[in-house]
Symmetry: C2
Subunit: 350 residues, 2 copies
């Protein structure tokens, strides 16, 4: 793993708040500022302010989870998936991270004039396959076409609705000192799969994206009565960003062990070649779970039995002297602070 200093000292691009930068979409500090300075002050609601993966509201006599994501990944097709599988699994996972059972999806397509119809057909077929695997249904949609040169082939927005059947409040605010932090598998594959495809890199074996739905895994934990406090899928900004966001919003100290983080050897090698830190590389089928310490071993065993959690490990605890900060014990035993990058190491990763 790389020396960590670049993440703290990563220069924030000069921007007198005048223009939108690529880094504003990168899941790091600049994006946090954009949300905090522009979106939240105008559109404020208790649900938006919670800054969770989805909003939770009462509806009828039940609890409803609602989330949205737009997908602008380049290239459209990559080892292990495409923009269509991403558009389903990303939104399914945001619902699962609220503890919700995903039910309904919407699909909004922004197509660029000239997109081959065959490309669209392939993507839509992927969406349907992914929806079947995840057990959700597309119920409403919209299509817009923009002039050639005003889009990039296809952008997809999906919004999702799920029902929360657990009594747990799965949110950063439920995280408690002493919680165990579990990670559902090895990290960095989605980002490296995209990057390799983009840069035409080839490795001995293809590195495939980990893109997958996590609702099945979450439901195994819930059905077993595991006391889950918080869940978050480790997409833009990777595991590091997710942990920082949770530490900051729950105002708790988070401590992780570098040596416990599972990184495949080929992914580690690719990261070294590309100058990336796997801790910040996007995943699309990995999550962290903050669970009550007494349930940690049992939760880990349940995860490891599930196909999406076969490589699950405990990476740390909610512990330490610095509420709001993430610290990491490095391989040589030193402790350092893990912070957000200003933006994403790789733009347009999802």
């Amino acid at each position: 793993m790389q020396t960590p200093e670049f993440s703290l000292n990563c220069p924030v691009p000069k921007n007198d708040d005048a223009k939108v930068l690529l880094a504003h979409g990168g899941g790091g500090r600049l994006m946090q500022q954009l949300i905090g300075n522009v979106f939240l002050p105008a559109l404020c609601s208790p649900q938006l302010a919670a800054l969770h993966d989805g909003a939770v509201m009462p509806f009828g006599g039940a609890r409803l989870a609602f989330t949205t994501d737009s997908y602008v990944v380049r290239p459209l097709f990559f080892p292990g998936g495409d923009i269509g599988t991403l558009a389903v699994n990303g939104t399914v996972n945001d619902l699962a991270m609220c503890g919700a059972r995903p039910l309904f999806l919407s699909a909004g397509f922004i197509l660029e004039e000239g997109l081959p119809m065959e490309t669209l057909r392939r993507i839509v077929a992927s969406m349907q396959r992914a929806a079947e695997v995840a057990g959700v249904r597309f119920v409403t949609g919209d299509t817009k076409v923009v002039d050639r040169g005003k889009g990039d082939g296809i952008f997809i927005n999906t919004a999702g609705i799920g029902v929360i059947e657990t009594d747990l409040a799965i949110t950063p605010q439920s995280v408690q000192v002493g919680d165990a932090i579990l990670l559902s598998g090895d990290i960095g594959r989605h980002g490296i799969a995209i990057m390799a495809e983009r840069e035409g890199l080839s490795f001995e074996s293809a590195i495939e994206s980990d893109c997958a739905p996590l609702n099945g895994l979450v439901f195994e934990l819930l059905d077993a009565g595991i006391e889950i406090h918080c869940l978050r899928d480790c997409t833009r900004g990777g595991v590091a960003s997710v942990l920082v966001e949770i530490a900051e919003s729950a105002i708790v100290p988070v401590h992780i062990i570098e040596g416990a983080l599972p990184v495949r050897e080929d992914v580690q090698g690719a990261c070294e070649i590309l100058g990336l830190d796997p801790l910040y590389v996007a995943n699309e089928g990995r999550c962290v779970a903050f669970v009550a310490a007494r349930d940690a071993e049992r939760a880990l065993a349940i995860m490891q039995k599930h196909p999406q959690g076969a490589g699950a490990v405990r990476i740390g605890s909610v512990a330490g002297d610095s509420p709001g900060l993430v610290t990491m014990q490095s391989r040589i035993g030193a402790s350092r602070i893990v912070d957000l990058l200003s933006g994403e190491q790789l733009p347009r990763i999802c």
Copy 2:
């Protein structure tokens, strides 16, 4: 109003199904084909197949309406509104057209690198104002940034959730022979406002978009016990396309009177200059209501008392010998068939 023939004989662009055309996003025949040939076969669900403005599902003991739209209008700001007001009112109206009370919105932003932050702030402020007027809340959101030249400033997707409190099934399938067809006001203003701005045309008085939320108007009708069979807002493709879609999906004959269609004189003049037929020009604050004949007069009186329905008129009936077709009695007394255009007369209108 123009001679009608062009709408029937409008040449369909040659396209061996190989590429996406601008017209595929235009709300006309080509878009219908795209949905029928590409989206429905793959993503089929009973709700999608209903081809209504929103999907209706049971949730938590209540009936939930769910809808989505992406907004790609150019220019971003126009007389009477901007992409932000459109992104709220368009989705609110789709929920209202299901007879739902709009509750929650999501916002998905796709920003182009280099967008002035001030432009974004203005648009987000418009969204919040429009949400307040319509009585809805933004509860979840997402932001992506694409490279300069791969977008067009800003695209916005909103999805919306509403609750249906009426026992009526407000859908094309509920339309009955004998129903009265009411139109909530004068037509063509949104399209002409956009076109005038785009082309730098100026008129004696500015033509402002009719962009407005219609949920208040719909609730006046529902609260008064009006037997509404179907509602549809007349956006892309205008009043003509909406009527054709309803006639085709309900397999009923629709007959309208050209002389009954309210078109402001300045809008009519602009349409003549621009070679547009107001019957096909987009509106963003107008709907048609199919109501039981015995309730027609009462419904019209209620609409006319509401600010969004002040210019409401009865434009026709579900009547005639040709189920699935829309016929129009022209000003000179002749009858002609009203069909879909192949695409939109004006691309990127919403």
